[in-house]
């Protein structure tokens, strides 16, 4: 009886795997790092990294939920950071943040439009736009007269601090934006008709269409939300650093996709445990931080990231097969 209810729990909550991993990991890291990892300063820094990666991954998970994939998020993140930092000194934080969001929405709209209109594989298209917008980002930073660095005296304003440039309760404001974003997306995805339709499209686009759902519209919308979130994540990271270059956000797309898969998203769509995605981002950020505080070279993180994703994919499969077996 006990066994059956556990299976049911696993079946209905795909984020359980990553939450267990996170608990084990925190225990392990805390006991093996002699307070280098589990101290207030380091945990606050993990919260900030989790925030930007988490927002990026949340957007990517919505696109993944429709059965498509968006790997251009790393470049959109960079464009968001540049749009914000390039304008914040002249037009102020709120308009600069909105400008970044609009840029992200435009990239998402472009991705979604090409994918749905021309039936191009989203993997191929967003790989191309990943490169294109990385190129745009680098070109922007090479234009004479444009500055992507915010003078120190302008970093103390309330709104500048609100968008990643400061702390609330000792934790970077980005983290609170992540919590807010997670709650809003959970409400949207699990409790509104739009969310129900998004999950349906990922589960079976044909069935969704037969119920009168405009599949194209649902997919484009997911790409747009993803673009906006990626650009806002870039804004928060830019606000935190106060400067950016054309390489900002490079390889973040891989971590974002990894966080989605770790969190229990199905690559083919229809399964989006949002809390799992955020916990996935936390696990990746924590591992990265653990390696750093122990003096391990950063390239080992990339190697480890690859191994983690494959292991997560295999064990997730095994766990779900086990959960579905008893009927």
């Amino acid at each position: 009886m006990m066994n059956i209810s556990i299976r049911q729990l696993v079946r209905q909550h795909n984020e359980i795997g990553i939450i267990l991993i996170a608990i084990l990991m925190v225990t392990l890291f805390t006991t093996t790092s002699f307070d280098k990892w589990a101290n207030a300063y380091n945990l606050a820094s993990i919260a900030q990294i989790t925030a930007t990666l988490g927002l990026l991954a949340l957007g990517a998970s919505l696109v993944m939920g429709t059965g498509e994939i968006d790997i251009s998020v790393g470049s959109t993140f960079g464009i968001g950071a540049l749009a914000y930092l390039g304008t914040v000194a002249t037009i102020g934080p709120i308009p600069a943040m909105l400008l970044a969001a609009v840029a992200g929405a435009a990239i998402g709209l472009f991705n979604g439009f090409i994918v749905t209109r021309f039936g191009v594989s989203s993997l191929l298209l967003t790989l191309s736009t990943l490169l294109v917008f990385r190129g745009v980002a680098i070109a922007l930073t090479e234009i004479e007269g444009l500055s992507f660095s915010v003078p120190y005296d302008q970093r103390s304003g309330f709104f500048y601090q609100l968008f990643g440039g400061g702390d609330i309760l000792g934790i970077n404001t980005g983290f609170w934006w992540l919590i807010l974003g997670l709650l809003l997306l959970m409400a949207f995805l699990y409790a509104t008709p739009g969310g129900n339709r998004l999950l349906a499209v990922g589960g079976s686009a044909e069935s969704a269409r037969s119920r009168g759902i405009r599949v194209t519209r649902v997919k484009v919308r997911a790409f747009v939300i993803c673009g906006v979130l990626a650009a806002l994540a870039g804004t928060l990271e830019g606000g935190k650093l106060g400067f950016a270059d054309g390489g900002m956000g490079r390889l973040m797309e891989l971590q974002a996709i990894a966080a989605c898969v770790l969190g229990g998203c199905a690559l083919l769509g229809g399964r989006v445990p949002l809390t799992g995605v955020v916990v996935g981002a936390f696990v990746l950020s924590s591992i990265q931080s653990y390696l750093v505080v122990n003096g391990v070279q950063p390239q080992w993180f990339m190697l480890l990231l690859g191994v983690i994703v494959v292991t997560a994919a295999i064990s997730d499969r095994a766990l779900r097969d086990w959960a579905l077996r008893s009927r």
Partner: protein, 263 residues
């Protein structure tokens, strides 16, 4: 004719429908009409055009030429959404339910009941659960199945029951069943056929597509046979026996006529 024509038009009328898929001529000048309260057996071999015809009626395909009238009104837009608005529900074997969603969520997919909170439309879970639970109980699903269970847990017959229950719940006027009993056990098949007859008795138009003329002859009021994209036979049930109809399917409409001439 002229005085009563407003009330006597058929529920669905198709005139001179033509549809090509590239070089393939899927529907050739098909004209047919269907009335409410009838159970129509639409029969034919693979590639006969029966599924293509119902895909036009359910808004999935747009015809190249010809007209479709619903309740006397000319259909201009061919999209599933439009068909649903007319009250045409199509049950296809492998389409219509999303495995990853719960029964309640599937039940209302595309027309979710909403409740406004702060002006934002949220799903009305209470209503979704209540209506789908009622259907689960009425349509003979296992006792331990709940509205919150995912559809991937259900058997083939239970899936069909959900789809039929959904068709009833939304007060549809037309239910098109495409091979509804494929891959079902004998008991489930009988159950689905009973449900089809119940829908007809409630005054709905039921179009029942199958290969199996003997099975549908027991249920239907009228039999329409298609072959190579054309309508070859359109008779009331009592006009021909199921064996005679089988001959038509086997040898093609024209060949039988020829035989009749020679006999």
């Amino acid at each position: 004719m002229s005085a009563t024509s407003n009330n006597s038009h058929p529920l669905i009328e198709v005139r001179n429908l033509d549809l090509h898929f590239g070089a393939f001529h899927a529907l050739k000048n098909v004209s047919v009409s269907f009335d409410s309260g009838q159970l129509i057996g639409l029969v034919g071999d693979n590639g006969a055009g029966k599924t293509t015809l119902i895909k036009v009626l359910s808004g999935i395909h747009k015809p190249n030429s010809g007209e479709v009238y619903f309740d006397g009104e000319r259909v201009k837009e061919f999209h599933p959404k439009q068909a649903i608005r007319f009250g045409i529900e199509t049950l296809q074997q492998s389409v219509g339910l999303c495995d990853n969603l719960s029964i309640a969520r599937n039940f209302y997919l595309g027309r979710e009941p909403i409740k406004h909170w702060f002006g934002i439309p949220f799903l009305d879970f209470k209503k979704m659960r209540e209506a789908s639970t009622k259907v689960i109980r009425t349509f003979g699903l296992r006792d331990n199945v709940s509205a919150d269970d995912q559809v991937e847990m259900l058997s083939g017959g239970e899936r069909q029951s959900i789809k039929i229950g959904r068709a009833v719940e939304f007060k549809n006027r037309v239910v098109i069943m495409d091979e509804p009993t494929n891959h079902l056990s004998v008991r489930e098949r009988e159950h689905v056929n009973e449900l089809a007859q119940q829908l007809r008795d409630q005054g709905l138009l039921v179009i029942y597509i199958t290969h199996d003329i003997h099975q549908v002859h027991k249920l239907a009021d009228r039999i329409v046979i298609m072959e190579n994209g054309e309508k070859v036979t359109d008779v009331a049930k009592h006009e021909m026996t199921s064996d005679e109809l089988e001959e038509v399917i086997r040898f093609g409409g024209r060949d039988v006529e020829k035989e009749e001439v020679t006999v």
